[in-house]
């Protein structure tokens, strides 16, 4: 197999334990065979349209545009996709692939629970068994998604190792796969991990950018000046950017600034904090200590709370093609509030990182420039985090009443 295909510059690759070799060979062979297969494509397009609800709208945020008094702001509404985020694009694509490969069971890792939820839904739809690995800490803070996965018939398996967050869930899923490769597909949720995942996830997410390109040409007759997306592992950003890589369009990735770049509580990997490493079977930038162990990260949004980043993004950053910046937790909450008040749209905390950056940039640009922001998900899932911030007193009272009500019912 040729070296170039497995790597993006010097990043990526496939640093897997030998036991997984046949599983990866099988997956790679199947993916590169099926991705251009007309029947596979037709089935995927059908599912995208009728199950996911694609295309998602490209929405002109008229009120915010006039408030900010600069560039025109467009939102790509991935939050309107089925299960509430872009994650479903990849989940449906890989679930279809798994089915074609004759697999009976899907496993997945999840942080925020959005990818787990999408995978659980896709598994239910395709009639596949589903186990989702989730760190105990994430389970505690994202309970609504834990509940949702269960309703879709998936088993959520708590991961109690290490920091008990997304990174440990990835390790647990990989290990589980080594124990049961023959009937199981590992449905990895972002554009990272060992080859072919970064390329495959990018391909399944590229529909985001393709739709944006078509719509903006129709509406504005030209390409946008800037595209802005939040970056966890990198799937919604590369999905938006991929089709524009060779166009004269500025690409901006926004990482989780957490409590600030000068604290230890953030997930900023690309602005000088992360170092190159080989972790979880791929080479990229990681937040790590001097001994090569991953650092614990922090973000108000569980979906961006991860120490690694997709290898293609690392490469495109080195090349200067993508610029990286960050938004801190307080800016993110303000961006959620502003978007909700002014546009009647409740973005996910992850996506609000991209919005925060857009709100900083828009006023500095002239009225004929265009910014497209990827609203990768909707914010309903975050109500237990944003609730106390938006309306602390009543939210607490509501929860207390709920507990009373439930205790009354069960006692």
């Amino acid at each position: 197999m040729n070296y170039k295909k497995r790597h993006f510059g010097s990043y990526g690759g496939r640093y897997i334990p030998e036991v997984l070799y046949p599983a990866f060979e099988e997956l790679e062979e199947a993916y590169f065979r099926l991705k251009d297969d007309p029947d596979f494509i037709a089935e995927l397009i059908y599912l995208q349209k009728h199950y996911i609800g694609r295309p998602t709208p490209l929405y002109f945020a008229e009120n915010l545009t006039s408030d900010l008094g600069g560039a025109k702001l467009y939102f790509k509404m991935e939050g309107l996709a089925h299960t509430g985020a872009h994650k479903i694009n990849n989940a449906v694509g890989q679930a279809l692939l798994a089915k074609k490969m004759g697999k009976k069971r899907l496993i997945a890792e999840t942080g925020a629970g959005q990818h787990g939820l999408a995978t659980a839904a896709a598994a239910a739809k395709m009639g596949l068994e589903c186990d989702v690995f989730m760190g105990e800490v994430d389970m505690a803070r994202q309970h609504p998604n834990v509940l949702g996965m269960g309703v879709f018939g998936a088993r959520v398996i708590p991961v109690t190792d290490g920091s008990r967050t997304l990174t440990d869930a990835v390790n647990a899923a990989l290990k589980n796969w080594t124990e049961r490769v023959s009937d199981t597909h590992y449905l990895l949720g972002s554009a990272l991990g060992p080859h072919p995942y970064p390329a495959m996830v990018r391909d399944f997410q590229s529909v985001i950018g393709e739709e944006v390109k078509k719509d903006i040409l129709e509406i504005e007759g030209r390409l946008p000046d800037k595209l802005i997306a939040c970056v966890g592992g990198g799937s919604n950003s590369i999905g938006l950017f991929n089709t524009f890589l060779n166009d004269d369009v500025e690409l901006i990735g926004v990482e989780a600034g957490g409590e600030g770049p000068d604290t230890q509580k953030h997930a900023i990997r690309m602005s000088g904090n992360g170092r190159i490493g080989i972790v979880q079977a791929y080479k990229s930038y990681f937040l790590q200590d001097d001994n090569g162990s991953l650092k614990t990260t922090h973000s108000i949004s569980a979906g961006l709370d991860y120490a690694g980043i997709g290898p293609e993004l690392a490469h495109l950053a080195d090349e200067g093609r993508i610029k990286f910046t960050h938004a801190i937790d307080s800016e993110v909450l303000d961006a959620v509030k502003m978007t909700a008040r002014r546009e009647g749209i409740l973005p996910a905390l992850e996506s609000a990182h991209a919005l925060a950056e857009a709100f900083k940039q828009a006023p500095k640009l002239s009225g004929d420039s265009i910014i497209v922001v990827n609203i990768s998900g909707r914010g309903d899932k975050d109500l237990f985090i944003t609730g106390p911030y938006f309306d602390g007193k009543n939210w607490k009272a509501f929860l207390q009443n709920e507990i009373k009500r439930l205790s009354g019912e069960t006692s």
Binding site: Y21, K175, F286
Partner: protein
């Protein structure tokens, strides 16, 4: 005499199934891990592999993973493990391998790390996430240049053709065969097909074979006779250390007794 030469001599000169035991550097603490290594050597271990603690050991099961985390919580660094091994080397002649994932070595610098190993008198490395296709850092070649044994890992899932390829990446006199699917630490029945598999590896690699993952008692080691050249014990030792600590016994003494029993 160190490195490939020392290991070659061990396999050539010592009859029967040899024993390789595993320690996580800095578990349960750095001083105890030093004593454990020395005690293992004195009780009959033929080779000792010392793991560098790491946050993301993707090929290890829960027992070894938890030991990694204990060491990291104790703030054990790669340099601490190397200093400890430097002291150990002054006391024992037993072959010592470093087991590490790619990133701790990458962070330290592969060449710098291997040079340090040579200067201390360590003998080889086992890297579970370093497949032969990834040539960027090529630890196998760097080890060959230094007469360090880069010990390839071979899994039962891979085909015959690949066994030969993987075994041929370095000049190591032996390969490490993974006896069961999955990760370290769950029981292995040494069924006939696994023994056949070891024979196949021996034939196709043309090298000595250490067989590991899941072995814990003497009867399992005995079944390897005539098939493998070495049995590897990992999680079982760490379980014993955990149990000893829990019961307020000396883990070093317990491990010594256990190994003496295995090698008697």
């Amino acid at each position: 005499m160190t490195g490939i030469t020392r290991l070659e001599k061990l396999f050539k000169d010592t009859p029967g199934v040899k024993l390789m035991t595993h320690v996580v550097g800095g578990f349960p603490d750095i001083q105890t891990s030093k004593k454990l290594i020395i005690e293992m050597a004195n009780s009959g271990s033929d080779i000792i592999e010392v793991q560098l603690p790491f946050s993301d050991p993707i090929a290890d099961g829960p027992v070894i993973l938890a030991a990694n985390y204990t060491a990291l919580k104790n703030d054990v660094r790669t340099s601490d493990v190397l200093s400890m091994l430097e002291e150990v080397r002054k006391e024992i002649e037993t072959p010592l391998l470093v087991m590490s994932y790619m990133n701790p070595l990458f962070a330290y610098g592969f060449e710098k790390f291997f040079d340090k190993m040579v200067s201390i008198g360590l003998d080889g490395v086992i890297i579970p996430d370093s497949p032969p296709e990834e040539k960027d850092d090529d630890p196998a070649a760097l080890c060959d240049e230094r007469d360090l044994a880069y010990v390839p890992l071979i899994a039962p899932t891979i085909g015959d053709k690949r066994i030969g390829q993987v075994a041929a990446v370095s000049k190591s006199p032996f390969v490490y065969a993974v006896l069961r699917l999955g990760v370290t630490g769950k029981a292995t029945n040494l069924e006939d097909d696994l023994l056949d598999y070891i024979d196949t590896i021996r034939k196709l690699s043309g090298k000595y074979v250490a067989a590991g993952f899941g072995i814990k008692d003497k009867s399992q080691l005995e079944k390897l006779k005539g098939h493998a050249d070495c049995g590897v014990i990992g999680s079982a030792v760490i379980r014993l250390i955990n149990k000893s600590i829990e019961e307020k016994h000396d883990p070093v003494k317990a491990v010594g007794e256990y190994i003496r029993e295995l090698t008697s």
